[in-house]
């Protein structure tokens, strides 16, 4: 698990305290924000021009994601019962190679244009038009 209280690093999950006997999984999201198209917007010595956009505030400070998953059979319970999960692996539990997982495809159900956005600058701000 990732200890976000004290060490801010990874450690093996200790036994749950008797007051909280049910172990739950911890989720980690890693996101690469491709701001490279706006590199001209942030020159060395200038303050950070980026903000999170959330909750309708101009200086919004939140981000949001939804997480859907399915675990085959009792694999999640087995992963929680024994403290051997580390990041993207859980000890003896079979892990599917990414090259295999990436072959899984479903038909597109939300038909929305997400590629081909054009970026330009307007009054010193970066703007994207799709």
């Amino acid at each position: 698990m990732f200890n976000t209280k004290n060490t801010n690093g990874f450690l093996n999950s200790p036994a749950c305290p008797s007051s909280h006997p049910v172990r739950v999984p911890q989720v980690a999201y890693e996101t690469v924000w491709d701001t490279t198209k706006f590199n001209a917007l942030w020159k060395s010595g200038q303050p950070n021009p980026y903000v999170w956009s959330f909750e309708g505030k101009a200086d919004g400070s939140g981000t949001h994601a939804d997480y859907l998953f399915g675990w085959k059979g009792d694999s999640l319970q087995r992963a929680m019962d024994k403290s051997e999960c580390f990041y993207d692996g859980c000890g003896a539990i079979t892990k599917q190679q990414m090259s295999v997982a990436n072959q899984c495809q479903i038909p597109v159900t939300v038909k929305e244009e997400t590629d081909g956005c054009e970026y330009f600058f307007e009054e010193g701000k970066g703007v994207a038009e799709c």
């Binding site: 989720v27 996101t31 924000w33 491709d34 490279t36 020159k43 060395s44 980026y50």
Partner: protein, 50 residues
Amino acid sequence: MVTGNVGETDKARTGLTYQCLNGQSRGREMSTFPTTPCTGGIFTTQHFPA
């Protein structure tokens, strides 16, 4: 699922960290937005629960 508090704008949260990308290399983990330009983008990590 929420990490941190969307109503706060001035506090760092250990459940949310940032790394400044320059080319392919990642900088050290920080608790706040990078303060220098990141020509390779911005890498964020969120943990829940945090």
